[in-house]
């Protein structure tokens, strides 16, 4: 991914800056960083000035929904270039079957992988750090492994510490440093593929909350303030693309279920993580403004929360 726009001058001095470069750079002790936050602030402000687009694909089969939504955003080729590494982050958090709508729809994940493959990706990793254990069981129940691997991805349940690296979050207010997936730093493209569910602690769990599965120690987020940590993380590590699975959504007893579900047959996609969530909240009849972590993320400049400023494209 190109963090250039986000980090202004810091990246210009090194040409194209990968996320890993950024991490190494952020870790570097001797670097003066005082003026940089201002610069990057300007970067994201400039980005926000352009009205963010959220694509809503409906009334098709799950894989077709994904294709339609990505096409409407300009096709996967716009995000994934030939020879790039892609990290796909679905929700494989619970030992539940797809029909319980607690984990991302396997067909959605597989189609994302297929599109990346078709765009010429050199490596596609599907990774999540599940809450439930054991990993093998969670993965088996989710039904994601088979289809995603067939589509050309490596599916990795990330519970071993060797897959993470310590990173300082410069702009964070609560989550100053944490162990994040190394692949998040290594991948050229980061695609978030959450499922839409209600959540007992954060009202809803959509795209931003799904990023919590990219760190080793989730407990720290609870201890230091969940909403702020989610906002901190999405501000620091915005996905390049969010493809939200609302094929079937969980309405009660989330995030794990089992609960009441509803077949929405939708996929919501976009590049602004907050805007995608803001629109998706409306699927539950909720206002994004009432969801703490989205409000905070918006305030930190991670994206647009006001639906009137978001262009919604139905396909």
């Amino acid at each position: 991914m190109d963090l250039g726009s986000l980090h202004g001058k810091a990246s210009m001095s090194r040409g194209r800056m990968t996320r890993r470069d950024f991490m190494q750079w952020a870790l570097g002790a001797g670097l003066a960083v005082s003026g940089l936050s201002e610069l990057s602030g300007k970067g994201s402000a400039a980005e926000a000035a352009a009205q963010p687009t959220v694509v809503v694909a409906s009334a098709k089969k799950p894989a077709e929904l994904v294709r339609a939504a990505v096409d409407a955003l300009g096709g996967m080729g716009k995000f994934v270039k030939r020879g790039q590494r892609v990290l796909v982050k679905p929700n494989i958090g619970w030992a539940r079957k797809p029909e319980h709508a607690a984990t991302t729809n396997p067909e959605v994940v597989a189609e994302v992988v297929r599109l990346c493959k078709a765009a010429g990706a050199r490596e596609i990793k599907v990774m999540d750090h599940s809450v439930d254990v054991p990993d093998a069981l969670v993965l088996k129940m989710s039904g994601i492994k088979g289809p995603a691997e067939k589509a050309g991805a490596r599916v990795i349940m990330a519970s071993s510490a060797g897959l993470y690296e310590r990173v300082s979050l410069r702009r964070a207010k609560a989550l100053k440093s944490t162990d994040v997936l190394r692949d998040l730093g290594r991948a050229d493209v980061f695609i978030n593929v959450p499922i839409a569910k209600v959540h007992n602690a954060t009202v809803l769990t959509l795209g931003c909350k799904n990023l919590m599965g990219a760190v080793l120690d989730r407990g720290a987020w609870h201890r230091s303030g969940l909403d702020q940590c989610i906002a901190d993380f999405v501000t620091q590590f915005p996905p390049d693309l969010v493809i939200l699975d609302a094929v079937r959504i969980l309405l009660t007893n989330g995030p794990k279920g089992p609960g009441r579900t509803e077949d929405k047959r939708l996929v919501v996609a976009g590049t602004d993580p907050v805007a995608v969530d803001a629109y998706s909240a409306s699927l539950f009849g909720r206002s994004a403004e009432k969801i703490g972590h989205l409000r905070l993320a918006h305030a930190m400049g991670a994206g647009e929360i006001d639906l009137s400023r978001i262009r919604v494209k139905n396909v």
Binding site: V131, M141, R154, R186, A201, R218, H222, R223, L226, G257
Partner: protein
Amino acid sequence: MYKRLRAARRVSQLLFLAAFVLLFALATFPPKTRIPVDLFLRADPLIAMSAMVSLRKLIFPLVWYALPVVVLSLFLGRAFCGWICPMGTTIDLCERLFRIRGRRPSQAPPWRRVKFYVLIALVVTMLLPAAHRSAKEWALTDTVGVSAVYLMDPIALLTRTFTLVGLPVSQWGLGMTRDVVTEWSYARFVEDHPLLDRALAPIQTGLSMVTRDSAVYFRLGLLSFVVFAGIVAAGRYARRFWCRNLCPLGALLGVLGKVSPVKLAVSEKCTRCMRCVNECKVGAISEDPHEYSGPECIACYSCIAVCPENAVSLTARREHAGREDEVRLDRRRLLEAAGFGLATAALLKVDWGAARTQAGELALKVSSQRLLRPPGALGEDAFVTACVRCGECMKVCPTNALQPAFGEGGLESLGTPILVPRIGPCAQSCNQCGQVCPTRALEPFSVEEKAHLYLGTASIDRSTCIAWAAGKQCLVCDEACSYDAISQEVVEGVERPVVDDRICVGCGLCEWVCPVEPLGAIRVYSTGDKRHWTRDERRELREQAEQESTGVSPYPGL
């Protein structure tokens, strides 16, 4: 024609040991085979006898599995010891590998009686009633004996060593290897060479298949290792010291083999070169090679292989057989052994850790509020009696949650499995511990039944819970609960978790995920253990609680 028997025996030993190791490795969740992975333990007649005698009931699955070894022994004596027993093979291999050479075998004949005394002592403990109780308690449980067979049964001992020592050590090594390979895969050098990258991927996949998600921990590993090492090291005194002197299973099979028609015969060609006497693994042959002890002979047939005159052979005709050197058991010693068994049982049962609470609910002991037994466990007395501490349940447990007890429940429950939720939760859709228990101390149960096999009850410590004490946004326990037993209560505008103790089964997932370090603010206690209820009663409680609760099925079609 008999010369090849030794080679055949060695092949058989290696094959059975390989089968033992393979079955041990296959004890996993999700299961990889339909063969019972505890096959060797099930086939062990001593374990079967112990379970049935001490539980006072006929358990047919145990009878069927143990029958082949019994029949084998009736015909061929202790052939099991020489050809099949993985402990015997392990000892043979270690003696060879570490060049452990026993002294002349005939120097320690009186010792060999010890194994019979051990057997007698064990049988006495099995026959004794477990505890004297008040009338109220008596009604709550079956009368059972005490079993100490776990201390001496070779198959249980070896399986336990594999679990408590072999598994964590091998996983430690595998885990480090995986981490090193992971490290390589992220190296710039590898990234820049797609070929290397592609070569590492299958290695990583392979490693992830055999390596657990996280490191495996057990306590008592060192103790278990010392016992095992002692058994091997005793070979310095005499080869297969364990088999010839201590093993109660060997004693039992030797007694069964008294009726065996197949005997060793020594012809007149014998020149008394004494090679067979020196080669005999268990010192069964006397100074006069024409005389040997039937209950000692493990049918290894080394005597046949080493005889330069081909004077040793097998015969089914009594008149041709070699003279038998009888093992004469001293009556006084037998009484002493019985007394020793009695004392063992008594001391295990009067250890204060075994003391019950006044509630009379037999699961509850004053020594630990955390005596959480795996689902399917028998009542506490029967469980402690039937469990042979083989560790299969701990091996198969996918989350490393099952640990050998050490203090919880007193001396009598040393090494029995308890759930330690902070290490791992009891995974909702796993029922493997009930599948691999050779004695049915853990009775088989279905995944659906788990919803009412209460192990205990979770309880929230409101003084440390970050939602209750600090008003923070945290309902991880509620998020994670597989059974929807936790709900939210809004106090001063903040949602805080509360537990419905009739729905909570004590799986410990909440305790495991709780972000309060190090021990969690929600903990499972044995208060809710309902093993003194029948399964039907437990199911009814569950159904009733559910109707009054959310109305969402706890059985999400797993």
